[in-house]
């Protein structure tokens, strides 16, 4: 199977990651791979929010933004 390369920024950890995912992967596959509960984040690409069933494309730059309040 082909692979997708996606770069991800996790705001909570202030961390950039590059991941290889199966072709046809969607956002929820990415969250599963990162062991992130979808209730706790919103996800954006090109400064637009995308949903869990959104298909990922090769070389996508994804931001995962934590929804939890800081205290």
């Amino acid at each position: 199977m082909d692979k997708l390369k996606v770069s991800v920024f996790l705001d909570r950890d202030n961390l950039n990651k590059t991941l290889q995912l199966d072709d046809n992967s969607i956002v929820s596959d990415l969250l599963k791979e990162l062991k992130i509960n979808p209730v706790t984040v919103i996800v954006s690409r090109n400064n637009e929010l995308i949903l869990e069933d959104e298909k990922l494309k090769n070389n996508d730059e994804i931001k995962i933004l934590s929804v939890i309040s800081g205290g």
């Binding site: 705001d11 909570r12 202030n14 509960n37 979808p38 209730v39 706790t40 919103i42 954006s44 637009e48 929010l49 995308i50 949903l51 869990e52 933004l65 934590s66 929804v67 939890i68 309040s69 800081g70 205290g71």
Partner: protein
Amino acid sequence: MNCCSQKPVFEMHSGEKLCKPHFTEYFEGKVFKTIRQFDLIGKEENLGVALSGGKDSLTVLHILHRLSMQNPKIKICAIAIDEGIHNYRDKTLETAKEFCNKNSIDLHIFSYKEEFGLTLDEMLNILDVKPCTICGIFRRYLLNKKSRELNFTKIATGHNLDDECQSVLMNQMRNDAGASARLGPKAGLTQDSRFVQRIKPLYLCTEKEVTAYAFINGLLDSFNECPNAIHSFRVQVRDNLNDLENKFPGTKYSIVNSFLQVLPFLKEKFKSGSVKACAKCGEPSANDVCNACIYLEKLKNSIIRVV
């Protein structure tokens, strides 16, 4: 299920997907409905918005500021408490100042250092207590005292559905129903002119909804978390609640909605009699000396011992 042909930006727990304009309409509609349903804001108000610089309080300020522009009888100011938490509050307060400057909103800042002589960081070096316990006592104390002095009719806070849900569960787990009686969209138990009524316009909005709204409206800053938060009971309750919500969507709504049904009985049961004045500072207090003064005394004694 999509709301219309535009690209969706938010999925509700029911599975419905909303585009940007429809999500905005849904979110703001929910906030205004909450305000009406619980009678949070009257025809004439001098509102203080408790601003931390985080997404929740910025969202409340953003929405109430627009309300006040449309309605000259509703005045808005922001009030911020600087606990003195290095590398956290200094950053979020910068965001708060920027927002207020840009929107020409008066911002009043009061700090623990100036009011009590010590920052929270310094207090925690002296006393061996749970950070959030004293942080909360001093914050509520200052917020109430200063809001009263500024003649605010009410204080609006950024508390959302997740916060409330966590508090309800925490109180259940501690067997503290009296603390739950003080929750609700209109917080507190006693109608006393020395207490400024606290209101929660985001009461029925989940944290995820608030974050999406803040993102869409450019209110979401870089992620910031209080370094003391990891020690808290709340964080463990929060994480477990989010796991439950993921497995059983709608859990948070159910908990808060059923809580709202028993809340009037709780408020009635725990209605307190007359409120005393603290013997030391004169602020309203359930006991002879208020919690803030008790901790200030402990701090003073510990400093003397150290010296």
